[in-house]
Assembly symmetry: C2
Homo-oligomer: 126 residues x 2
DNA sequence: CAGGATCCTGTACGATACTG
DNA sequence: CAGTATCGTACAGGATCCTG
């Protein structure tokens, strides 16, 4: 931290050392997918789709591919008829558990404060 | 955790208990802004703009308003000529520090693994 | 079943002015 | 200085249909 020359302008990714990991872990749909995979274990494409009701197959595929590429999810293809594909969290993906726990904890303590702040702000702006 | 009826389909926000807080804390530009505010303390609009070089004033304003509404940032307007506005992290915003630290730690340990996984994946797909 | 292909739309964001 | 206003666009994501 603080290894930045004073007065230097920064790129979005460089202005903040955690930006890269935020892109990886918190890009759209990744948390619901990882969470579902963590909660229900190894499962097939349709199961994921059913559990994350509002996601379309196209987007689910895109995000699963991205997570597979990043090594957070493992895809297993069974060449049968009909084809069967199973997804599960990788070791690396599982290493995010404490992070998610910290997040859940912060949420439990502070989410209500955020909501109150929003209501106060919206009242004042009327 | 696990307080979900079996077989139930879930909304994106409901499929994952941390989804709401992810929207609040990790929506676009919020981490660079919070990080810069945390690193350099209370500062004016232009300073923020200079430090997060690639952000436009319009978007910076939008995101600052959102963060103010959520109670993570405090905006102080000084009715002078020329006008002076200062932004700083709120108490609530500061409470995110351990979370960011956990994230930085995970990044330090695992970012390289993600990059290696990507290279391996891209090699295989050629 | 697990997706690919195609088409379409919303909106988040950038660029470029302009004001109190 | 600290924004707003306006315009234009690129791309994420939805809807629908199709296939190995």
């Amino acid at each position: 931290m603080g290894n930045v020359k004073s007065g230097e302008a920064l790129d979005p990714g460089l202005a903040c050392p955690i930006a890269p990991v935020v892109d990886i872990v918190f890009s759209r749909w990744t948390t619901p997918i990882l969470w579902t995979l963590h909660e229900y274990g190894r499962q097939r494409f349709v199961e994921l789709q059913r559990r994350i009701a509002s996601i379309t197959p196209k987007v689910l595929t895109q995000r699963l591919r991205q997570l597979e590429r990043d090594g957070l999810v493992v895809r297993t293809y069974h060449p049968e008829v009909p084809p069967r594909v199973e997804y599960e969290i990788s070791e690396l993906g599982r290493s995010l558990a404490p992070l998610f726990a910290t997040l859940a904890e912060w949420s439990a303590v502070n989410l209500e404060k955020v909501e109150r702040s929003r209501r106060a702000y919206d009242d004042g702006e009327t």
